[in-house]
């Protein structure tokens, strides 16, 4: 009467689970066989994101990800040639508009209006050829779930989970848009992206965090957010998008991952068939500007209609540096209910309601982020909070960590690794992103590296990196908006 859902034990290292294959054009394929249900998580990752942008086109990686849903020669259009003819006209009109509007001192706004109207009427005409959200609909019609895409600073991913008998659909649609993306509806989608940016701006505190990040990075492309600056979104052209696509959306810059109820040999044969004919592209340009030494402390003060907060950021080395695992251990020491920051700032000193500290290891330039929300009932000042945070940071430098505390962090890391193997979706994401940079095998080595970290390593690393000239402090205070809100009872309303 009882059934065991699963048989064979899963290996605890990835080496024994992952099957890899590389096509002649450089596309890497990673596969993990699992058969709980007849479904397959299908992801494809590109080694591109906001750090590959430059001033003038910030936000293009994310905007481009939106445009990848707008069709190809095959998808999203009923008559490609007719649609293309209209697009050529629309683009040349909009180039005139942008040039006049954004790049001339005293542009002719009457002309702008006329060109814009002409372009808009062509866009209306184009609608007869457009098959709305064709790719998305096709996936859904075939039981696609987890359907999405995301853009980060270092990678961009396209996701769908399909019934096990329909993986070929993903191969067809993804190979098609890798090779033949066609950016119709560019101008209306740009407005969608700008609305997305507004959503962030309307989250109180967002604009301060955006400025803090820009302050922290003086030179490296980590200094702007994935969404980009609004002015760049406005002035970006169709041609910028096409150039960007040609540079980064090539098979030798991508990893395809399949986790689920698969036959790896079949997957390889299908991948050869669909992706194999796409020519290898030139290797994309490497990132050149790394973050230079900071030399002096930076401080940023701001106000927003939300909870006050304190942030302290330190530059740390990029992934692959021998100290990487030490930062992972420090992160473990600081966080959670038994972490040092919660114990000290929240429980013992009663200064904060939340406190955390975590290392953000990045491919080219990392950051260690300490943060706390002050308790606003009572007399706590930002100076008190900063002092308490710095005391904890100094403790890392001066006091060797006890054996049991270190062991706790190692146990937690091991358990977290095992936990991370539970979800097919999560595993696909970890494999794909790791493969773009340090290689997926690095995931297996991470716990080994972490186990080697000693109390001396922690003191040495904290003393090296957590120093005044290497930090940026952000202090955000609540802005009183005038309208009546909680905590301002009785102060009256502006209306």
């Amino acid at each position: 009467m009882f059934f065991i859902l699963l048989s064979g034990a899963r290996a605890l290292n990835l080496e024994d689970q992952v099957i890899e294959h590389t096509l002649d054009n450089g596309l890497r394929i990673l596969m993990v066989e699992r058969s709980e249900v007849p479904r397959v998580v299908c992801h494809i990752y590109y080694r591109v994101g906001s750090i590959f942008e430059r001033p003038g086109i910030t936000g293009i990686s994310h905007f481009h990800e939106h445009m990848m849903f707008k069709g190809t020669r095959m998808m999203g259009v009923s008559d490609f040639e007719a649609d293309h003819r209209l697009n050529v006209k629309i683009d040349s009109l909009m180039d005139l508009v942008y040039n006049e509007k954004y790049h001339k001192k005293n542009g002719d706004m009457d002309a702008v209006r006329i060109w814009q109207q002409q372009a808009e009427s062509l866009m209306k005409e184009e609608k007869q050829y457009i098959i709305k959200d064709d790719l998305w609909e096709t996936y859904m019609r075939n039981g696609g779930t987890g359907l999405n895409a995301s853009t980060g600073k270092e990678s961009t991913g396209y996701y769908v989970t399909l019934p096990a008998n329909k993986v070929e659909l993903q191969m067809l649609l993804e190979s098609d848009r890798m090779a033949n993306a066609y950016f119709r509806e560019f101008y209306s989608e740009k407005e969608v992206v700008r609305e997305e940016r507004r959503l962030s701006e309307n989250r109180p505190g967002y604009l301060f965090q955006e400025q803090l990040n820009a302050t922290f990075y003086a030179a490296s492309p980590y200094s702007w957010g994935v969404i980009g600056w609004d002015i760049d979104l406005q002035t970006m052209t169709k041609q910028d998008m096409i150039d960007f696509n040609r540079q980064y959306y090539v098979p030798n810059n991508a990893v395809a991952v399949y986790v689920g109820d698969i036959d790896p040999q079949k997957i390889i044969r299908m991948a050869e068939k669909y992706f194999g004919s796409i020519p290898r592209g030139p290797e994309p340009e490497p990132i050149r500007t790394l973050e230079p030494p900071q030399h002096c402390e930076k401080r940023l003060y701001g106000e927003a209609p939300t909870m006050p907060s304190m942030t302290i950021l330190y530059h740390i080395p990029p992934a692959g540096h021998p100290d990487e695992a030490v930062f992972d251990v420090i992160t473990g020491l600081l966080n959670g209910r038994t972490g040092r920051l919660y114990k000290s700032l929240v429980l013992e000193k009663d200064l904060a309601t939340r406190a955390q500290g975590y290392g953000m290891v990045s491919a080219y330039s990392g950051a260690f982020n300490f943060g706390a929300l002050p308790k606003t009932q009572g007399e706590v000042t930002m100076e008190d909070l900063e002092r308490a945070l710095v005391e904890e940071i100094d403790r890392l430098k001066n006091e060797p960590v006890e054996e049991r505390e270190l062991q706790k962090v190692k146990n937690q890391t091991e358990a977290r690794f095992i936990r991370g193997l539970r979800s097919d979706y999560g595993l696909a994401a970890r494999l794909g992103r790791a493969e773009l940079y340090q290689g997926w095998r690095d995931l297996d080595r991470s716990s080994e590296r972490l186990n080697a970290v000693t109390a001396d390593d922690i003191m040495r690393v904290a003393s090296t990196y957590f120093v005044k000239d290497n930090r940026t402090v952000g202090i955000l205070l609540r802005k009183e908006t005038g309208s009546r809100g909680p905590g301002q009872a009785g102060r009256g309303s502006s209306r």
Partner: protein
């Protein structure tokens, strides 16, 4: 050249050769032919047992990883908060975990859990309590002891109650900061009025609630016969049953006296309602009361709403408002179904202030359209295929499967619900979709609720003239201030 390399290259060429012969890449997805696939969902009763103390357990062995997951559902919720102690249930759920047990202080419990790399949690929501444990199987016994101790013997240390109150006080101050959250809270408050279902805690209640209240609340609902447990992982079933019997051996069943709940007065509130906020967009819900999750029309409603605004880019509202017009990043429609009360139905959009009026008019147009004509064959096919083909997803992990069964039982659905799910979806016709659209969407009953800059939203844009007032009387809503001395309504 070494021999091995040559052989490999040969094999690769051979493989490519085969592909060239057979590689007729389809010109369109419609040309793809898929092998058939049959899937039989697991059946709830095969995993269900009852412990001697009355606790119902859904359990399955899963040896793929050396770990065990438990998730308990406890029949309780903030709907049972006393009127002068709003927030009691939530506080009980939280301090149960942090405030120690008869044998361990809160800090000691934290240390033990963290040292094992385990995870232990407890929360009480609107109409359900839940507790969970993740632990490596080598530590199963210790983990189970901690899990059972937390559920049975919490002592609610005063210091952790104070901490909870301090933290909650900070959250209350931030209640109206995030426009999205503010909209959700105020929209529900408009419809449900003063009902336990939408009560929020406030300063006055926080100051009133005592440790004894938490102890009483826990005593009343945390009984083994009021718990449904889902368990999956690296254990032997028989041994696990023995272990559960052992750790919960001192827990005695008791009849639970659930307070009776006031009826929800289902009265829609047509009109335009606004909360002032100095932001660049209007956050909008357009809707009214919806249905209970026991409604027999639910399958037809799911399909109807998928086509209307629930199926993301496949849906009419997203296509129109986002893709076609570029007005918003987020837009669509949803039914939020409730179990003991009617839920809500609403369309939603966040768009720059000047296009709020236009975006709302497009959503209302779609409401009217789906009520006036049958959906197309193709829309119907997409929607049905989606529900049918994605069905196995809910059984994608052994824990998810056990939790899905536990939830069926919690909500008193028949245990063979999933056996008939696909047939029920298949049965829905286009006429049915039209019928439920007419029955459950009432364009003249809509509350148009906007959080945004009132003047800018009213001004609209020259491209799309029109006014908000055409949809009814405009009321400016003062959001709840949970820090006010009087506390709420």
């Amino acid at each position: 050249m070494n021999r091995r390399l040559i052989i490999l290259t040969g094999a690769a060429l051979a493989l490519t050769g085969i592909c060239v012969l057979t590689a007729q890449v389809p010109k369109h997805p419609s040309e793809l032919k898929f092998e058939s696939l049959t899937y039989n969902p697991p059946r709830a009763e095969e995993y269900r047992i009852t412990l001697s103390n009355g606790m119902i357990v859904y359990m399955v062995e899963d040896h793929s990883l050396p770990a065990v997951d438990l998730q308990a559902f406890i029949r309780t919720g903030s709907i049972y908060d006393p009127v002068n102690k709003k927030g009691l249930a939530q506080m009980t759920g939280s301090v149960m975990r942090t405030g120690g047990t008869a044998s361990l202080s809160g800090d000691e419990l934290d240390e033990k859990v963290d040292f094992l790399g385990a995870s232990l949690s407890s929360t009480i929501g609107t109409r359900r309590g839940s507790a969970s444990l993740f632990v490596l199987s080598k530590d199963l016994e210790e983990g189970l002891e901690l899990f059972a101790d937390m559920l049975m013997n919490p002592v609610f240390e005063e210091s952790k109650i104070t901490l909870y109150k301090d933290q909650t006080m900070e959250n209350l101050k931030a209640r109206n900061d995030q426009p999205r959250r503010l909209l959700g809270l105020e929209f529900d408050r408009l419809l449900y009025g003063d009902h336990p279902f939408v009560w929020e805690t406030d300063r006055a209640a926080l100051e009133t609630i005592t440790r004894d209240d938490l102890i009483d609340f826990h005593n009343r609902y945390f009984r083994p016969n009021n718990v449904i447990l889902a368990a999956a992982g690296d254990f032997d079933r028989d041994e696990m049953v023995r272990k559960l019997e052992f750790v919960f051996r001192s827990w005695t069943p008791e009849e639970i006296d659930f307070p009776s709940l006031p009826e929800v007065k289902v009265k829609n509130r047509p009109g335009v309602f606004m909360v002032q906020k100095e932001i660049s967009q209007g956050y909008v819900n357009v809707g009214h009361f919806g249905v209970k999750d026991t409604n027999p029309d639910l399958y037809a409603l799911d399909i109807m709403n998928f086509i209307l605004g629930g199926g993301s880019f496949t849906s009419r509202i997203t296509t129109k408002v986002r893709s076609d017009e570029g007005l918003a990043y987020n837009t669509g429609s949803r039914f939020v179904n409730q179990h003991d009360f009617p839920g809500t139905f609403y369309g939603y959009v966040q768009t720059k202030s000047s296009t709020v009026q236009y975006a709302v008019s497009l959503i209302l147009d779609e409401f009217r359209r789906i009520r006036s004509e049958r959906v197309s064959e193709s829309e119907m096919e997409t929607a049905k295929n989606y529900f049918l083909d994605s069905f196995p997803n809910r059984f994608s992990s052994s824990l998810n499967t056990m939790a899905a069964f536990a939830e069926l039982e919690y909500d008193r659905f028949p245990l063979d619900y999933y056996d008939h799910y696909r047939a029920n979806i298949e049965k829905v016709s286009r006429d049915e979709v039209l019928r439920v659209a007419k029955k459950y969407i009432k364009p003249d009953q809509m509350s148009i609720f906007i959080v945004g800059d009132i003047e800018a939203c009213k001004a609209g844009s020259p491209d799309h003239p029109g006014s908000l007032e055409k949809w009814g009387k405009m009321t400016v809503i003062e959001p709840l201030d949970p820090m006010a001395a009087s506390g709420g309504r």
